[in-house]
Amino acid sequence: MLPTISNFLPSLPIDAIQIIYLVAAFFFIRGIKLLNSPATARKGNQLAALGMLIGIVVTLFDQQIVDLEWIIAGVLVGGLVGLILAKKVAMTAMPELVAVFNGFGGGASALVAWGEFSRYADPTLMTTDSLITTGLSVFIGSLTFTGSFVAFGKLKGFISGNAITFPGLNVINIGSMIGVFVLVGFFTVDPTNQTIFWIILGLSLLIGITSVIPIGGADMPVVISLLNSYSGIAAAMAGFVLGNSLLIISGALVGAAGLILTNVMCKAMNRSLFNVIFGTFGGDSSQSTGGDSGDKTVRETSAEDLAIQVGYASKVIIVPGYGLAVAQAQHVLKEVASKLESRGVQVKYGIHPVAGRMPGHMNVLLAEADVPYDQLLDMDQINPEFKTTDVVLIIGANDVVNPVAKTEPGSPIYGMPVLNVEEAKRTIVLKRSLSPGYAGIDNPLFYAENNQMFFGDAKKSLSALNEALNDI
């Protein structure tokens, strides 16, 4: 056993600590406010981190803290793991990393509630209010923990991206959730009964798994956003247990952020949240509907021809899809764009909200390739610009430029917001084949008169274009 490292810090009165917590909360709010613009965002994040540091340091002055050995050990281990993860992760793997962090955050909140409960030698001394919030905190935190790791497994491919489900799974999930709430009720009546606590914990961990496993890989952006929201609510719940306003405020901010992003993703994918959670559409592999593509012709182009078309255009919009990132072609795309700009071509990027695998993912991938953020336009900004555009280069994207979403009420993607690329003078699609996207439906854009196809791997195609641009 290690010798006990006692807290050598003087204790601050509780009101002083609370006031400093208020300062930390102010830093969080101010930090998020600065995230409103890419120019100030970095400062905002640093401000929030400073708020966190203030919150942590002042807590060490709490009179309840007497032992430091576990604290020092925990911070060292966690800090090292966090540091390595943050430094090593590839930008394409950001959704996985956020899923993992969500999981740890949720897990920590559940543990805090559990630890607070276990501190009481006689749990009947706890108020009913704290027992309710303890139960709920354990519930939300645990389900965030396991749910996030299932989402991580799906993104990483450890767990099949397909919807894994069986009849009655939804009923079981809803039944289990009701069961947890009933058990939390029993728990407040008889907190000395340890078995009830263990069942709540076990059931909550299980619900996290069984509620994420039936959701298809394509819907993971929604799931991660939702779990992000849960991790915030879990922190707020832990705040309720401890009566700590800083936890409540911060948790609420994060909960709100997650919900907004969930909503953004649902809208962009034309799905309702209910449908994502209880439906099973959106697997990794969707089969082609075949369609009547047989009697349509596509016009193919070559790298040389493409170079002439974009090289002599006055305005080019690039629409990147996830196929671009899979092929690791962001950097060569940036080279192409730079060459065009040096020829006096105006270049912009039109980014659909689901272009990446999480909200805003494609923007990060392009920023990594040194594309300036003022060229990255979101859907509402770019849509009015297609009319005045000479060439739209669509790279590794499909459903997000499918005009069927606007024209065919019977189509599964009808109503989904899409980029109005067909309004441009010419569209050129860089794609491996004519195969349909996630939604499994044919794209009439490919056969349109002013569209050309350039088949092949995005990186190879763009490299060829990059070469060809040297010769015109």
């Binding site: 707020a236 609420a252 992003l261």
Partner: protein, 97 residues
């Protein structure tokens, strides 16, 4: 007013501030927003510190739970803020203008 009701007031008001603030974040920054918000949810570390640092009234179990909570929360906090910083550092304006 009980502590629970008081806490509920804070929670609901903070949610409103959150919705107002975050609705204004442009889609370009949604990934850093998520990872940054994620780091903020690691604030639960404050609770973990109290659980782990509490005087051991004969309860080693509590301290172990607190230790694991600190590890998890610190991964969340350190990793979240650092990776967000790494991303935001890459967002640059056009230089040659």
């Amino acid at each position: 007013m009980s502590v629970l009701i008081f806490s509920l007031f804070i929670f609901v008001l903070a949610c409103f501030i959150g919705f107002e603030l975050i609705a204004k974040v442009p889609p370009t920054l949604h990934t850093p927003l998520m990872s940054g918000a994620n780091a903020i949810s690691g604030i639960t570390i404050v609770g973990a510190l109290i659980v782990a640092g509490h005087s051991a009234v004969g309860s080693q179990a509590t301290q172990i739970i607190g230790f694991v909570a600190i590890v998890f929360a610190t991964i969340n906090v350190v990793g979240g803020f650092m990776v967000t910083d790494r991303m935001l550092e890459m967002f640059k304006k056009k230089e040659d203008e």
